[in-house]
Subunit: 267 residues, 2 copies
Amino acid sequence: MILIKIGGGENINTEYICEDIATLVQKSEKDVIIHGANFVRDELAEKLNIPTKIITSPSGVASVFTNENAIDVFLMSYAGLVNKKLVAKLLKYGVNAVGLSGVDGRLLQARKRDAIYGVENGKTKLITNSLTGKVEKVNGELLRLLINAGYVAVLCPPAISSENEILNIDNDFASAILAGELGIEKIVMLFEAPGMLEDAKDENTLIKNIKKEELGEYLQFAKGRMKKKILGAAKSFALGVRQIYLGDGRVRNPIVNLLEGNGTIIE
Amino acid sequence: MILIKIGGGENINTEYICEDIATLVQKSEKDVIIHGANFVRDELAEKLNIPTKIITSPSGVASVFTNENAIDVFLMSYAGLVNKKLVAKLLKYGVNAVGLSGVDGRLLQARKRDAIYGVENGKTKLITNSLTGKVEKVNGELLRLLINAGYVAVLCPPAISSENEILNIDNDFASAILAGELGIEKIVMLFEAPGMLEDAKDENTLIKNIKKEELGEYLQFAKGRMKKKILGAAKSFALGVRQIYLGDGRVRNPIVNLLEGNGTIIE
């Protein structure tokens, strides 16, 4: 079984991705999909005049400040628009897809963060009212029920807390917990770059191989969202994952190419 | 098993409804839920400057004109915002809810209408570009899989065509096909009135009992959305439903009260 994580960037080509997932499914490879939707979310938030506010932690990790309005935008873009269009596209390619958010059947259960530190204009502030959480538990029973019946689950945030609050979560960390619960050994991550780059601005600086023991070093150089990917990767290996493939979600045959080595492999 | 249809009006109290569903579930009564979201949809459409356009057929049946923008608003409001908040509320009351749209696993498969007739300023026009369909098939296998595992399915439009177009559908007609597929004999419909009224403007004109044979007569007097409810009811009886309860979704214990006779019973 492969966990395929589809980034939510503007130029991600879901048509190519769905075509490739259909090829995997035809080869009897079971897949679980988790996706983002940040471009669509930001666009919708802008239109509704609720702009996305990014918080950067003192260690440089970026996350979204989430109030109730932001949760609404989250539900509309992730669980509504992007999830269902992805499901329809997979159905078109013959993949028996079912879309679920982390709320459904407590699929992704998270613990609410009491407080997070954010740096603003050089000052560290304590932020206590963000509806943000960390996934602790996955409803593997529900996922196995669907997978064993031949469905491909298409998952997305938000998650839900044990106190039934709908929470924004880090998708990379959620992927790690998900892989752990389902005993998945391979994760494929598709985003808007050919893989992990030494210089984020230069696509010719692709890092082809990373040993999982080296992740700590890379964490020092990584910026913003890439930091979360590395932290998520480290957690994934701790939970039994053996290979993580990072690659380009904009090109034709993105998954097949990536599994053949065109991208970054962490192992 | 009871099919509970929750209307999408502004004053529907989902807190009361979810509390009542929890009571039914505790009594080992299995439920399937289908909901609307028209108030939230219209509000969102207004904010995004894509106002909802109503088409009235020559026989007086009202429906929504649906282009691609309207489908997006549909997905955001029905499958995103309203579905997931309803699921979270049910989880809060201890109901193991899973939300799915008609797109997921082809749950509601519809046939696209090639053309519909609409009356505008007294003139009948042929409208050929509306993404509207009629549900023909329900994925009962997926629903039974979830129900037998103890989950309560929370369903909503849109549906999907065999050509993989996402389509707006009539929820009352979909409920009939759904009840037929699952062999459901009781449908509970909650909306913003104490039941079917002789005079839509006077809540003291409640019709307590309607014989299914009389539905044809009521169709002549019913207006707008109520026409669809009657057409949906007639289809439901044709597919094996034995009782339809129509009642108030704004009051405490809406379902328990309705099953005890406070509302309209068609049988």
